[in-house]
Amino acid sequence: MTGNSEISLSKVARVNGAARLSGSVLRYSRLVDYPLIALSAAIIVIIGLLVLPPIWTLIRTSFANTMPDLSTAGFTLDHYINLVTGRNLAVSAVNSIVFATCATILSLIIGGILAWLVERTDAPLKGLAYVTTIVSLGTPYILYVTAWLYLLGRAGPFNDLYRTWIDPTSTPFNVNSLTGMILIEGFLWSPLVFLLLSSTFRAANADMEEAARMSGASILDTIRLISMKLARPALFALALFVFIRNIEAFEVPALVGMPGRVDVLTTELYKSIKEVPPRVGYASAFSVVMLIIVGALLFLYGKMSKQAERYASITGKGFRPRPFALGRGRWIAGLVILVNFAIVLALPISAILWTSLMPFVRPMRWMALGTTTIKHYEAVVSSPYYLGLALNTLMVSAGTATVVMLLALVAGWLAARRKPGAAIVDQLITMPLVFPGLVLGIALLEIGLRFPIPIYGTLWLIGLAFVIRYMPYGMRYAYSGVLQIHSELEQAASVSGANIRESLRLIVGPLLIPALTSGWLFIFLIAAKEMSLPLLLAGPSSQTISVAMFDLWANGQGGEVAALGLMWVTFMTIVATTFYRIARRLSLSSFGH
């Protein structure tokens, strides 16, 4: 595999000149390319089969009355009317937009700066940035959010310190506010941005940056005028994606905002699915509206990114991206990485560690140290049943990540290269982004119960649900990866007689390794901690670790969840790091750095 990619690159480099010359004569894209159309059709059918049945359930449920047995009957517009007649629609819409925009900007700033420092410069402490990302992605959602609620809460260390040293009567930080929601959501998604952009930056050609520096541009000008501009299509796609994710997020708005009565558009969605029986119709109607908005945004984005090829910097020329010398700025860069580590990881993890060592939840005080206990760890270690759950979780998340990234490789290439059916592929694969977990779960319960092969109650059904849920994420990684690779490489391959399969396997695949690795890692880690789907779909023999964590958490075993969570995160970090090292070695052979 590695040997092949090297050979193919040099082969491409050799024919590159010829391809350029013939490019104007032989319009590569105008040829009727039957294998390409077949590939495109095949991928549309596969993704369609995965996405359309739940979409159909969604639309049907949104227009029908839900019966006590959760079946649907009749036709009604009530669910849509309820959407607009909800209380304070204007206020919650404004809150939603402020929340999603600010959280997106925060994630982009944190993740973007970090990715640039790590991949494009000679900054110290690069390993720490990766550790921060992998560990925070591996940390179960409820533990991470609860840790922040605790840290910034009324009895948390920040308010405590303020009261001790400044004003004993006040509580300056109110975590149950729009600011608290933005901070936590921003921190939560910054690893996604980091992983996506680091693969973009890693594969970027440094020639232009170096040229700018040599022509006398300052470091900041170089970043502004060259690095960020080159990453613009990827950045824009990413910003849009994170924004969509944030506007339909309901976990942080509920857990953080609800106690402070900060309503966003999804607050009512959260309430509707927690009722008994759940108001599935309302949740579906909300999702259908989101589906239309997301479709429109993607359409607009497609129009704007037609020129994306201009930004591709991996061309047929031999190149070797070199790190950018920061000079005296190195120590500032190191400090930035350190501060990010402290805020995004060390703080919440220390809160979780504290919880895991205390017999019950209590404020961080010196005097409480006397009650330190390891009983929660003993409880975890003495329950062999967690081992089986860990194995289930590993299998289903690794399987999901692999299947999703394989699909995304083909789909991302088709979409980024504007091949036949590109728009359909992109729209279809992005649709599951708007599914609330419960709505997708109910659709899959139904599908699983009627599936000709008995997958109900098995890991296969959870895997199927995960593939549908995480396809949009895999797509973003593959898509922005392909955008960077100039199509002249494939044109050259084609001229040299390579068919689509060969050009995907020998050219696009190897050059995409950084993007595919980042995507795999992200999906693997995020699938392993996903809760809403396994809670609905796991059978007695397909329980996952997140089901066990939710069970403990919901029943007040906060200490044991923290202990189990930390041990699990450690384990996942080892698995993820091992994988990452192997993949990095593969990518070394393609990029030589």
């Binding site: 609800m258 927690k274 939840v361 209590r362 139904e446 075993q557």
Partner: protein, 349 residues
């Protein structure tokens, strides 16, 4: 002197009751041999549970499997909403996997969809009438007493609310929290208990004033709210389960539950219609509700429903702790859910 005498009498009464409970001969519990035989033929029972796996589910399963070798108990744990959604979907798809389920509020959506089956356990013959459905559709397995609690580090005993009206004191404004659970043990249940105790007019007057205290709605369950109380986020919380407070207090947590409008409700166990292993299910329910099974519940910190099995801290049970309570069963909740929930939404959300 009078006060001393009262205290003495109360203590004496407690001793007598505890002794009476302890000496009362256990009724011979015989399970029909035919049932055991039929259950062994089925070999398995599938339990969809809302209880904590490590604390109660596994100890119960292990004890049952030891007593009846050859019958395996498979379980999946999930919150009651998910358990109900699953069983309803299995029933509608005519592909039933679950045999039994628990949780007070779980029963009603499943029954409304027509997927619950009746069974009158012999083990529950001694249970009080209000703990059993007259037609046998459900039987109580655990008792839940819903009450307020204070953080004793933050609230001196003299400041602790003693009556409902004390909750209206301005010092609690913005410092109280409760769960958003839509059940008898959540705010709608509390609203119901207030209306039943004070009457409609006075009750609404009280609730309107209480709403001005701006109670934080925590989007989680009673236990998580209690942890926020113990952690010092909210000095006073409403609608928590008293046995949770007792468990934490016994570990040294600064928490005390208050006998201010304690609400008595309970969790139930019920059979799924057309479950694949009906006999093993019946045998398992018999075991769960027997003195032996109920003791396992008590050891795990729950308040057992069985009248002869004391709680781990006996005074959690109203008849031992000698306190007045308001009964709000899941059934009463189900009948009034629309009214109580709409008051909750209008005044408190």
């Amino acid at each position: 002197m009078m006060r001393f005498l009262q205290a003495f009498l109360r203590a004496a009464a407690t001793v007598v009751i505890v002794a009476a409970v302890a000496i009362r001969p256990a009724p011979a519990q015989t399970v029909d041999a035919n049932l055991i035989e039929a259950a062994k033929k089925e070999g398995e029972v599938v339990w969809y549970t809302t209880l904590v796996v490590t604390q109660i589910v596994r100890p119960l399963v292990q004890a049952f499997e030891k007593k009846y070798p050859g019958i395996k108990v498979s379980y999946t744990a999930a919150p009651f909403q998910e358990v109900a959604t699953r069983i309803v979907n299995e029933g509608r798809g005519a592909n039933v996997r679950a045999d039994l389920f628990d949780g007070g509020a779980t029963f009603y959506p499943i029954n409304a969809a027509g997927f619950a089956a009746p069974y009158k356990p012999a083990a529950a013959a001694v249970y009080p009438a209000e703990f059993k459905d007259p037609s046998g559709y459900w039987t109580a397995n655990i008792v839940q007493v819903v009450s307020p609690a204070i953080n004793t580090d933050l609230v001196p005993a003299s400041d602790a609310p003693k009556t409902l009206d004390d909750l209206l004191d301005s010092k609690w404004r913005g410092r109280m929290a409760w769960t958003d659970a839509p059940s008898a043990g959540g705010p709608p249940g509390f609203i119901g208990a207030v209306l039943l105790s004070l009457g409609k007019e006075k009750g609404m007057e009280f609730l309107t004033k209480l709403a001005e205290q701006r109670i934080a709605n925590i989007p989680s369950n009673q236990r998580v709210v209690l942890d926020q109380n113990i952690g010092g986020q909210y000095p006073l919380v409403l609608c928590i389960f008293n046995y949770h407070a007792a468990i934490s207090a016994s570990q040294g947590a600064p928490v005390k539950w208050l006998k201010v409008l304690p609400i008595l409700t309970f969790g139930t166990v019920a059979m799924v219609k057309n479950g694949p292993h009906p006999n093993a299910t019946k045998l398992f329910i018999e075991f769960m509700l027997s003195e032996e099974g109920q003791k396992i519940h008590a050891d795990a910190g729950y308040i057992p429903a069985h009248p002869n099995v004391p709680a781990k801290s006996p005074d959690l049970k109203p008849e031992v702790g000698k306190y007045e309570y308001k009964l709000v069963t899941a059934e009463m909740y189900n009948a009034h859910a629309a009214e109580w929930t709409s008051i909750y939404k209008k005044l408190f959300q």
